[in-house]
């Protein structure tokens, strides 16, 4: 049965609490335990890193959904030297579940759009847990057309449970808003790079992912539907989501092997995502490298290559 907590972290949490005790003791006894503390810290990091090499697909789903994960705003802050958020779809409203704007990365003007999950309950309710409504896709759509007009490459960040399952979204033509995004991106005449930074949930995620390059962080997932949904439909038991996570092959490594994503960037344990300079540097370099390569292509070649990139995905017998 699928567990919903980071159970695999229990041993490290125990060790960490021991470490805290030792630090307190060191103060109380006015004794220097720094060598011992450093030793335990080192061992803890080693253990954790080793465990991260052997995560199950379901553990990766949990990590992908971790509320403490950096959000699109965090990545923008990290990567853009200047960023101006732009609002609204000019039709209906401004969806906080998708943010977008313009900024500079490595001396290059870019358009950035991405799903925006909240970091706490209040923010998540405001942002609809990162589930876009039609106005979110339409805001992104308008920003993509602007990017094309000004010849700016596009960077997208993917992290959403999926499209909004509400009445209003249906009433305002959610399916139409998503398909228009797929159509727009598939022939957009500027480079598009997508980074999956958490949960790539179904059509709501795909709407921002029709890119020349798709990068996934190592403990993120991309799925046709949530493992719970698949389990409840195919196994009639949503509690067997962990089994589904394995069967559906939704983790970064599997999707790389299937040729669906282009690069996987190793993540540090979840506590250190933004603190790890090595990780941040690798991500930054990767984005720059892809943009450099894509910007050097002739526009018609770029569009043709993107068409072929998606055209060849699918397995069948002839």
């Amino acid at each position: 049965m699928a567990k919903n907590k980071f159970e695999f972290e229990a041993p490290y949490l125990l060790l960490e609490s021991k470490l805290d005790e030792l630090r307190k003791l060191s103060v109380q006894l006015n004794t220097d335990f720094s060598a011992e503390i450093a030793n335990i810290e080192k061992r803890l990091d080693q253990m954790r890193e080793e465990r991260y090499q052997h995560l199950t697909p379901w553990e990766q789903v949990l990590l992908a959904r971790d509320v403490d994960r950096p959000t699109t705003k965090d990545y923008i802050k990290l990567l853009c030297s200047d960023f101006i958020e732009l609002h609204g779809d000019r039709l209906y409203g401004d969806d906080p579940a998708i943010i977008g704007g313009i900024g500079i990365i490595d001396g290059r003007a870019v358009t950035v759009v991405g799903h925006q999950k909240g970091r706490d309950t209040k923010e998540n309710i405001n942002n609809n847990f990162g589930m876009p409504r039609p106005e979110g896709y339409r805001k992104a759509h308008r920003l993509l057309l602007e990017a094309e007009k000004f010849g700016r490459p596009v960077l997208t960040f993917i992290n959403t449970p999926g499209a909004d399952p509400g009445m209003g979204a249906e009433e305002r033509g959610q399916a139409w808003a998503i398909s228009e995004m797929l159509l727009c991106l598939s022939s957009l005449r500027v480079p598009v790079v997508s980074v999956v930074t958490g949960e790539g949930g179904s059509g709501g995620a795909l709407a921002l992912s029709v890119a020349d390059r798709i990068i996934m962080l190592s403990n993120t997932v991309f799925s046709v539907a949530s493992p719970e949904t698949c389990a409840s439909i195919l196994l009639r038991d949503s509690k067997r989501a962990d089994e589904m996570a394995a069967s559906l092959k939704i983790n970064a490594k599997s999707l790389y092997d299937m040729g669906i994503v282009d690069e996987v960037i190793e993540e540090p344990p979840r506590q250190y995502l933004l603190e790890s300079t090595a990780f941040v540097q690798t991500l930054e370099n990767s984005i720059k490298r892809h943009l450099d390569e894509l910007c050097s292509l002739d526009v018609s070649e770029l569009v043709e290559l993107r068409y072929r990139r998606f055209r060849k995905i699918g397995k069948f017998n002839e």
Partner: protein
């Protein structure tokens, strides 16, 4: 999310009700429960004489009803599914669907003529694993659209689907991007693309090629949407108004061009094709 279960409810009811035949072979309409005989159903062009509920028709019935006699030539007839994720039980499900429908996959594509107009035509079959879109459906649609460009022909697709073929995982989700990109090429080539949304069209099919046509026709009473009504109800607790996500609701909200009963779709297509060819034909 491809939460699509609710989209099938009417279909499974239809099956159940049709299975519960009375001694004279009459069955009750899944929508209004009126008792109908098979002969009445055929005579009435597959819809209920009382409430005009459209009974499901197969891909071949659709093609025969729409195309001029003996004009249809099938393409990619032998393209068949594999089990790319080695998903447990998928082969068995495919084999069962093939046996039940006599089809190799959930869509028939090819070239034919309608009222003398040459077209590329595709028809999905809701009986084949709920008309779900996997690699084969996506591939056949893309190939048909690329051939439409090659022959410079209009393209007409009859849609009905519960959404993505979950057993193919991301391969199935990507078919949304792939088919949308193919539609983009049709548009660039200046070719007419008409989609007919039939009961039910939900999930990833609605959110890709189905909703990207120049002209979108919804068949009377069809359920059309992204998230199915039951999932909406379950996740939001909202009570859905009667007629929600039906063709008549969609035209009221500006999502489709026309709502037509099934019997009138062929003549409408002929008129649309005629106008698009400058009206020289009729």
């Amino acid at each position: 999310m491809f939460n699509k279960k609710r989209g099938y409810i009417d279909l499974s009811n239809a099956k159940k009700n049709q299975a519960a035949l009375d001694s004279e072979g009459n069955f009750s309409c899944p929508s209004c429960s009126a008792w109908i005989s098979e002969a009445q159903k055929i005579q009435n062009n597959d819809f209920c004489p009382r409430c005009s509920y459209h009974f499901a028709v197969s891909a071949w019935e659709r093609i025969h009803a729409i195309c001029d006699e003996n004009s249809f030539e099938e393409w990619d007839a032998n393209v068949s599914s594999v089990n790319p994720l080695e998903f447990p039980g998928y082969e068995e499900k495919l084999a069962k669907a093939q046996e039940e429908t006599g089809l190799i996959e959930g869509i028939v594509t090819g070239r034919g003529s309608i009222g003398g107009f040459d077209v590329v035509i595709g028809a999905m079959d809701s009986r084949f694993m709920m008309g779900s879109m996997g690699s084969v459906v996506g591939e056949k649609i893309c190939h048909a659209m690329e051939k439409a460009i090659q022959y410079s022909l209009p393209c007409i697709i009859f849609c009905c689907s519960g959404g993505a073929r979950m057993q193919e995982g991301m391969f199935s989700l990507i078919q949304m991007a792939k088919t949308s990109a193919a539609v983009g090429r049709l548009h660039e080539a200046g070719l007419l693309y008409i989609s007919i949304l039939t009961h039910p069209t939900t999930g990833g099919v609605t959110a890709s090629f189905a909703s990207l046509a120049d002209i979108i026709i919804a068949e009377t009473g069809a359920l059309i949407g992204f998230t199915g009504p039951r999932v909406i109800q379950q996740t939001t607790g909202q009570i859905l108004p009667p007629g929600f996500q039906r063709s008549e609701y969609l035209i009221k909200h500006g999502m489709v061009d026309l709502v037509q009963p099934r019997v009138e779709v062929r003549s409408l297509l002929i008129r649309l094709l005629n106008v698009h060819q400058g009206g020289n034909h009729g």
